[in-house]
Amino acid sequence: MAAITEPIPATADQYNDDILRVLAPPSPLYVITVLLLAGMVGAGVAALAYQTYWGMGVAGLQNPVFWGVYITTFVFWVGIAHAGTLISAILFLFRAKWRNAINRGAEAMTVFAVMTAALFPLIHIGRIWKFYFMIPYPNQRGLWTNFKSPLEWDVFAVNTYATISILFFFVGLIPDLAAARDRVSDWRRYLYGALALGWRGTAEQWRAHSRAVLHLSGLATPLVLSVHSVVSWDFAMSVVPGWHTTIFAPYFVAGAIFSGMAMVVTVMVPVRKAFGLEGYIRMEHFDNMGKFIVLTSTIVGYAYAVEYFMAWYSANPYEQMSFWHRAFGDYWWATWIMISCNVVVPLPLWIKKVRLNIPFFWVLTIFINIGMWFERYVIITTGLSHEYSPAAWGYYTPSWVELTILAASFGFFLMFFLIFLRMFPIIAIQEVKELHYEGHHEGGAH
């Protein structure tokens, strides 16, 4: 596929041509990639079937560590989801126009990341068919769920987040689906036509649409802050040393935006190159995302320091033991991967030249993703493996079943993302076109 020759489209109609061109029939490389990812998902399904048949013993979860890779990966994917909402809702409310070119891709990531995350509590409970026990429903035993439990809060938070993310994503997509309907002539015309819900861009439709987007942004902004706060309370509400701390909610929210923004860069760099979208996803986007990563990395680094400071300052021997163990005990290697990747690796991004060096920036974001997965792994395993009684200490090693399902989660996420790329406009056409008419482009092209 040829790259866009002009850095900035010259006419409003060229936006439709450029962006909808991505919907052309897929190349063999694309098909092979999707099949490979589907193969990864298949391996994960096989591992899950094996675990379901033989029971949770085939996972590495043993006394005293009963939360391991599954909960780590759940928190990781919920975190990844946060950048999409930040870009689409929070930056919308702040009128940060640069978001327009990347918000669709980030919102799609949010939806697929939440879908991936939602699988993990189900995988973790072992008896997947009992998942509905988490939902309050009238039953003959007269039981209701325990609403005082953070785990039950999580059920409500994650389901609300998934629903609102999908709705927000869909509402933003409606005008672009109509644009796609008006361009294609094959069977997809009916698909886009049905999904566009009769959109014609009338004054009344835009009036309702603008109001709906504004309200959904207003609702999604506190929601995104609440979701990772609630996820952090899964830990902080307990009395496990290393978990029971009030800094967890802001620390987790900053970490989520940090990892999510890094994932946006990790995913969008190859997409931009493969589909020739350099005229849309421009250097200013990388510059701004780099600044976000630097900011959130600094908050995360500060949170790490505060945790250690509080452990020392509290004079609580259990807390001090937990953090000593975290840095120099059995899991020292995981802790130092976490600190290196999340605090040290992003430091070069303070320099603008580095933020604009896309290959280098892209490599950094992969390390950040690794670091953020390890952050959750460190919190969970070090906390549970060394609680109060030395007699109950232990060491957790993930089994091949858990690692296969972890790998499959990446396949699952990327497979859906790639399918989305070919089916729907990856850039919000109406929003970048809005900039065209407002003359907000670099260099005042219009």
Partner: protein, 168 residues
């Protein structure tokens, strides 16, 4: 009754045409636009969308339901957890908050579908695919005697094409 369509190429000219037509007494207007434009919205002068009422109702229903559900269920299955009262308000705030957002969001989208799609489901027949590309449309419903005047006003406003819509 007739409908006249004027085709324009940018939102400023469209808003200006709408203002001119409204000034001339033609208030039964509609427009097509590939982008959301505050200028066109202001020119139409229809006030804020009713979608906001849907959001408000959704949020109020959600937060009320969140607290009522948790409190009622706690007394329907009374069990003391962590030494707290059966119905303990601080933890239930989380459920109340989440349902507030959930219902508010869902009703916002239903409001969009009702006001934007359902009440707007019949097209005057003037829509053309370029209205999702780079063209803007201004449709004026007027009496048969006013068609010429409307056409003149639209041409003066910079329309690249003006025509009477068939079957309107």
């Amino acid at each position: 009754m007739a409908s006249v369509l004027g085709v324009l190429t940018d939102p400023h000219a469209t808003a200006s045409a709408i203002r001119k037509l409204r000034g001339a007494g033609f208030t039964d207007l509609d427009s097509y636009s590939p982008i959301p434009s505050h200028e066109i919205e202001e020119a139409m002068d229809r006030g804020p969308s009713r979608v906001r009422t849907w959001t408000l109702i959704g949020c109020l229903v959600g937060v009320t339901l969140g607290f009522l559900m948790t409190i009622w269920m706690s007394y329907d299955y009374p069990i003391i957890v962590g030494g707290k009262p059966y119905a303990s308000i601080p933890p239930y705030t989380v459920i109340g908050f989440e349902l507030n957002i959930l219902f508010g969001g869902v009703l916002t989208v239903l409001g969009l579908m009702f006001h934007g799609m359902f009440l707007n489901r019949v097209d005057s027949g003037a829509y053309r695919p370029n209205f999702s590309g780079d063209q803007f449309g201004c449709v004026v419903n007027c009496g048969a005697n006013d068609v010429e005047r409307v056409e003149k006003l639209l041409r003066e406003s910079g329309c690249t094409e003006v025509r009477v819509v068939e079957g309107a």
